[in-house]
């Protein structure tokens, strides 16, 4: 791996959904193994563990089972992150379990993903959980979905089986908001169409999974239109050299900022222009999402953490009434009229649950108007009233300014993930 090539790679984050039976761990093991991302000592440990269990052949799925309880029970409990790189890209996999009780983990893994791989067992076709996974991927705004129809070896690599499942998935997905759908017939176990093209499915002309992962266009996934800069931290060195320096630090959540740009500060509404932009010790003329920078302004305005610097002719919405799709992540269900701490961009607030509009049946996509109990792993549309205004965009427009979490003030646990509608 040459240094020059390495410095020009970009980053693709993807999530994988599917249960153990779908061969998800085997697929990840295959991606890692065939891309030569597994080290000898890791392989040695897996071989040892395989022989201890006495299941004969080396079980690639063991590469991804992390915690002792998981190894003992043979299931994945929590989100695990894996890393591999090819000469083209670096990949971060959020490996999440597929069982219904772990919807919260899939939501967690999906929140930062550019792409979701959803596994379907070719013998079984679409299962309840397939729809659930596709819905969550769409709800979390993952721009690219890849359905891998796995275990093609067990259906004699039959094109009709693949086409039939693809047709059903396309019908279902038309109800979802997904920009980019892909279908690949694979066998993770045998390696067909994962990294290497299969010679047993001549009828399939599309790309292998690895080719798709390496080449799919992701530069357009970021919002570079709406300027949004949530202020995270105020930097005041108070040294002789930087006596009057007052910089606003944060990670750009949307758009491109240039020195000289007119900006408005929320919630105060004061306007100014950008004096300088700093990337570490370097001064730059422009910066864009998701860069972490420091900005200074030409006017002395009182700005603190939780404020947002935006473009005056392209403002986010500002409101204390927030209409949100909530995914509930905690054993203690959502309390009607309950109060929670809320985190949105760099802003902390408190909120009250005003109303549960409906709960989703995530298997049928039906809206349940009668049953409004939102418990662990449920998804519901909820109206919140916040103590201070939030400055936000719709989640579909900007995943950074459209997302929030709720925190139980008694236990301090993160209890819900919210996508602003």
């Amino acid at each position: 791996m040459s240094t020059n090539g390495y410095l020009d790679m970009d980053l693709l984050r993807f999530t994988t959904a599917g249960s153990v039976d779908d061969g998800k761990s085997t697929l990840i093991g295959r991606l890692l193994y065939d891309s030569r991302s597994i080290f000898d000592d890791q392989m040695e440990a897996v071989e040892q563990a395989s022989s201890k269990r006495g299941n004969g052949e080396v079980d690639l799925s063991l590469l991804t089972d992390g915690l002792r309880a998981e190894r003992e029970q043979g299931i994945t409990i929590d989100v695990a992150y894996r890393y591999f790189a090819t000469p083209k890209r670096k990949f971060i996999i959020a490996d999440t379990p597929g069982h219904i009780q772990y919807t919260r983990n899939m939501v967690t893994g999906a929140s930062t993903a550019n792409l979701a791989i959803i596994l379907v067992d070719a013998r079984k076709g679409i299962q309840e959980q397939t729809n659930r996974h596709a819905f969550i991927a769409s709800l979390l705004g993952i721009p690219h979905i890849v359905f891998c129809i796995n275990k093609m070896d067990l259906v004699d690599y039959d094109e009709a089986v693949f086409k039939n499942i693809q047709q059903q998935l396309e019908d279902f997905s038309s109800k979802l908001e997904v920009r980019d759908l892909n279908f690949i017939p694979i066998s993770a176990l045998k390696g067909d169409n994962v990294v290497n093209r299969s010679s047993r499915m001549d009828w399939y002309q599309g790309s292998t999974l690895m080719y798709l992962l390496e080449n799919i266009h992701i530069a357009g996934d970021r919002n570079h239109i709406d300027r949004r800069f949530p202020v995270q931290h105020v930097i005041r060195p108070m040294t002789d050299e930087w006596h009057d320096f007052r910089g606003f630090a944060g990670q750009i959540a949307g758009g491109i900022f240039r020195t000289g740009d007119a900006v408005q500060v929320l919630p105060s509404g004061f306007q100014s222009t950008i004096k300088s932009i700093h990337l570490g010790e370097r001064e730059v003329q422009e910066a864009f999402a998701p860069q972490s920078v420091v900005m200074t302004l030409n006017d002395e305005i009182d700005i603190s953490r939780g404020d947002m610097i935006v473009s005056p002719n392209n403002l986010p919405k500002s409101s204390q009434d927030i209409d949100v799709m909530l995914c509930w992540l905690n054993e203690r269900p959502l309390q009607p009229n309950g109060k929670y701490a809320l985190k949105h961009t760099s802003r902390d607030a408190r909120c009250m649950v005003k109303e549960v509009t409906y709960k989703m049946d995530i298997n049928t996509l039906r809206k349940l108007d009668e049953d409004k109990q939102v418990g662990m792993n449920d998804i519901g549309r909820v109206l919140l009233r916040t103590t201070v205004p939030l400055h936000f965009d719709n989640y579909a427009r900007n995943r950074n300014t459209g997302s929030l979490i709720l925190v139980d003030e008694a236990t301090n646990e993160t209890v819900a993930a919210g996508m602003i509608v």
Binding site: M1, T3, Y6, L7, M9, D10, L11, F39, D41, A45, A49, G66, L67, R68, R71, I77, D78, A80, Y81, R82, Y83, A85, R89, K90, I92, V107, T108, S111, T112, A219, H224, Q232, H233, I235, R236, P237, M238, T239, E241, W242, F245, G247, A249, G250, Q251, H278, G280, E286, F288, P290, Q291, S292, R305, L329, K343, H344, R399, I405, N412, T414
Partner: protein, 301 residues
């Protein structure tokens, strides 16, 4: 026409800086765990970027096992002086002298596990509410499931089955009095990312990462530096060899690699072609399949 595309290293850098600023904003008394190894050096480098032109707003905390490579300590002291950083030291030797922990005995005696006690004590004495660590998720299976903001109870324990969900870039650092957090800003970096970034940014690192002549001995297929801290078995004979260290930890558990790599470029070549993980030469991880998970539950970082 500009390209508004970030390379993966720049994206990782941006993510890490965001995390470090979040730590500084959400906690009253954070500290950066500093071992003198490349990962903690990287964290300090990123922290300097995060707060420039202000100074890094938290101290460095070194948990000193007393079994150090002298080159690491010299490097640490030079870095602290050059950047005007504050250094706190928690001493395992002191914990032993005070009878709080007992030294292991035998050939495989290591102070690695004893660090846990000293670390937790240093956190308590200095009232640190968030200890920033340079751990990476690619290092080890238990670490692959660690959160960026990792909650610890009042005994400093990690409960892997009851971690807070972590979504988007929203980090929940709320806690009760007496509890603290660990934060891992370089969670998503791999060993290769770290080396490439060190080269890109020309970050100084201790000399023992580069090939040098040293007295070593062979144990269980791993080369160890001969030092007063190691008790040799009768059949173990020290000899001179050109080696370097892939990781820097306590001398009693950090293995050397037989390597001619004397520049960053050569190290990167070597890392790219090497077929074992970094921690493959760490005696502390070899104790059992769940060695890291067990130590982490008790409060290891």
């Amino acid at each position: 026409m500009h390209s508004y595309r970030l390379t993966h290293l720049k994206e990782l850098e941006s993510e890490s800086i965001h995390i470090l600023r979040e730590v500084a904003s959400q906690f009253d008394r954070p500290a950066l765990l500093f071992s003198g190894g490349k990962d903690s050096i990287l964290c300090f480098h990123l922290a300097r970027k995060a707060f420039f032109p202000a100074k890094v707003p938290f101290p460095l905390l070194h948990v000193d096992t007393g079994h150090n490579f002298s080159e690491t300590i010299e490097f640490r002291d030079r870095l602290v002086k050059e950047h005007g950083a504050t250094l706190l030291v928690g001493s395992v030797q002191k914990s032993i002298d005070e009878g709080k922990v007992q030294e292991e005995t035998g050939y495989y005696a290591s102070r690695n596990k004893l660090q846990i006690n000293t670390l937790l004590e240093a956190i308590e004495t200095n009232k640190i509410d968030c200890a920033i660590g340079g751990a990476r998720r690619d290092e080890e299976k238990a670490r692959a499931k660690e959160r960026v903001f990792s909650h610890r109870d009042e005994f400093g324990q990690w409960d892997p089955k009851n971690q807070r969900p972590e979504l988007w870039n929203l980090y929940n650092g709320r806690k009760r009095p007496g509890e603290h957090f660990r934060a891992f800003p370089i969670s998503n970096w791999t060993e290769m990312d770290v080396w490439q970034y060190i080269l890109l940014e020309q970050i100084p690192i201790p000399s023992i990462y580069f090939s040098h002549e040293r007295e070593v001995f062979l144990r269980d297929g791993v080369l160890y530096a001969n030092s007063p801290f190691m008790r040799l078995k009768p059949d173990e004979k020290p000899f001179m060899k050109r080696v370097r260290f892939r990781t820097i930890g306590d001398m009693s558990c950090t293995g050397a690699v037989d390597s001619p790599a004397a520049t960053l470029e050569e190290i990167i070549e070597e890392v790219a072609s090497t077929r074992t993980t970094e921690r493959g030469s760490r005696m502390d991880d070899k104790r059992s399949e769940a060695a890291m998970e067990d130590r982490k539950k008790e409060g290891y970082f």
